[in-house]
Amino acid sequence: MRLKRLLYNRFGEIWMLSAITIILLFPLVIGIALFIKSDSIVSSYSLAELLFSSEWLPSEGKFGFLPFIISSIYVTILAFAFSVPICLLTAIYLSEYAPKRLTVFMQTVIDILAGIPSVVYGMWGILVIVPFVGETLAPMFGVKSHGYSILSGGMVLAVMCIPYILSMLIETFKTVPNGLKEASLSMGATRWETIKHSILKKGRPGIISAFGLGLAKAFGETLAVMMVVGNVVNITANPFDSGYPLPALIANNYGEMLSIPMYDSALMFAAFLLLIVILFINLFFRYFIYKSQKI
């Protein structure tokens, strides 16, 4: 009996360790596979050429990824700018002011929003956001646009990021102890001063990681953005113009244009780039969290 229990104990540990090892290996294996596959394009062109050239003519052997990188960054920044203030204000209200019932109800709404498939967001984007941008917003700014634009991508992406960022923020604010709020209030602070000086400060690492994960998710989101962003290789500062983010490039072309030499390898390189950027976003935010925990 004793031996059996010990054996169970030992095996349980081994299984758990193997599960962790598999998870640890995932990013490494994916990274290595993508790197090996993109080797032919990396060895034929210089990295600077690939990253900073804006010419994308695969049939002529020109692979400049700059338009895709810029589109990705542009759409992500717009999504971030739209979703961050909304999420922060909503999370503060829900955790500090709202009656319990509203918080519970909102949690359900957030779960529903998080569960909607991205293709549905894309359809909604085509039906609502694209016409809104093309017919209402663009004329307001005196610009001509068919609506399939970087701005539409940013807006749809913002809505998609909201449930993730919001639920992480609410969790963060929940963990701030009541005693800390009471300490601040009893010093004569108002509700808002307490939020600003104690809750937002105490929750800073959580807030930063919520934004970091939201940003990484936004950067890699593919389908919904691809449906509304226009998919035109283009470097532009005008958000009403179409763009072509990296994930859309991969999803649109992989498996189709592979007869062109090195196209396959170029798409693998795009995927590798995506992985590296997301890795850097994560590392950057980790560093930020580490910094913010220090006083």
Partner: protein
């Protein structure tokens, strides 16, 4: 013309005389209790259907240590938090009755609640330093008030830290995080931080329950020293602590006040069964 002027002067003098008499009469007839810092009358607190505090009537004397004693869950903390309106934070609580702090009703006051709270320093069971440096914890009250005079601020930081006996221990690391201090030191920091806003009353909710005996003794000794300047209300369920600290003990059980008086009177001659039982269990 002269007659009219005289008349007016006489009239004014009469009015002044009447007013003085009225004032004298009012002062004589006004019921002035034995100078309590806090007067609680008919205080009731409900959490939905649960009646937490039941018709609490209490006068807390000025510049004394009043200990709220009773078993856990008897409503001591709720009573303490009603005093500085921290009960407002819990939307499920319903509070009725009156609380007078120095003759000013605070429970139904719509005006400046932060100002009401500022008059009462709060010390919780666990220390809660703000997530900023020791120095910034100490200057928080000034920041809220918009005071920027560095000299005044630094003078006060030193004064208050000395008052709680922490200055020597932290003067070289004022700009580091309070997390590196021991729990006892953190608790004294929180006390000093509360003192910077010049409260009249100190509310302490089991302030030594997380501390080791040495740190607890430091806090208790501080309270004894500080009672000349402040009215101190301490919540505890520890009989010995009540013995050591209290000038006035209020025994509560199940949301009601059963007995109150000096520790000698209460602990030697308990009148109610509840207190007798508590004393037997506690000893």
């Amino acid at each position: 013309m002269i007659i009219t002027l005289n008349d007016t002067i006489m009239k004014e003098e009469k009015i002044q005389l009447d007013f003085a008499e009225k004032l004298d009469f009012e002062t004589k007839n006004k019921q002035i209790p034995e100078n309590p810092a806090v007067t609680i009358s008919n205080l009731n607190v409900w959490a939905s259907k649960h009646h937490i505090l039941k018709n609490v009537e209490l006068k807390i004397p000025k510049n004394k240590i009043t200990v709220l004693l009773g078993p856990s869950g008897c409503g001591k903390t709720t009573l303490l938090k009603s005093l500085n309106r921290l009960t407002d934070l819990d939307k499920e609580l319903y509070v009725s009755g009156n609380i007078f702090i120095n003759d000013e009703e605070i429970l139904h006051a719509k005006k400046d609640i932060p100002e009401i709270r500022r008059k009462m320093g709060l010390l919780s069971q666990k220390p809660y330093p703000l997530p900023v440096s020791i120095y910034k914890n100490m200057t928080y009250g000034f920041k809220l008030k918009g005071i920027r005079d560095k000299k005044l601020i630094n003078y006060n930081v030193e004064l208050r830290l000395k008052e709680v006996g922490l200055w020597e221990e932290v003067k070289d690391r004022l700009h580091s995080s309070p997390d590196k201090l021991s729990i006892g030191q953190q608790q004294r920091l929180c006390l000093a931080r509360g003192l910077t806003v010049k409260p009249h009353i100190i509310l302490a909710d089991e302030p030594t329950s997380a501390l080791d005996p040495t740190s607890s003794k430091i806090i208790e000794d501080l309270f004894k020293k500080m009672k000349n300047q402040y009215t101190i209300i301490v919540v505890t369920h520890v009989l010995r602590q009540a013995h050591r600290l209290a000038d006035n003990v209020v025994f509560m059980s199940d949301g009601e006040i059963f007995e109150q008086g000096s520790p000698n009177k209460l602990f030697k001659n308990p009148e109610t069964q509840e207190l007798k039982k508590y004393l037997v269990d506690g000893n």
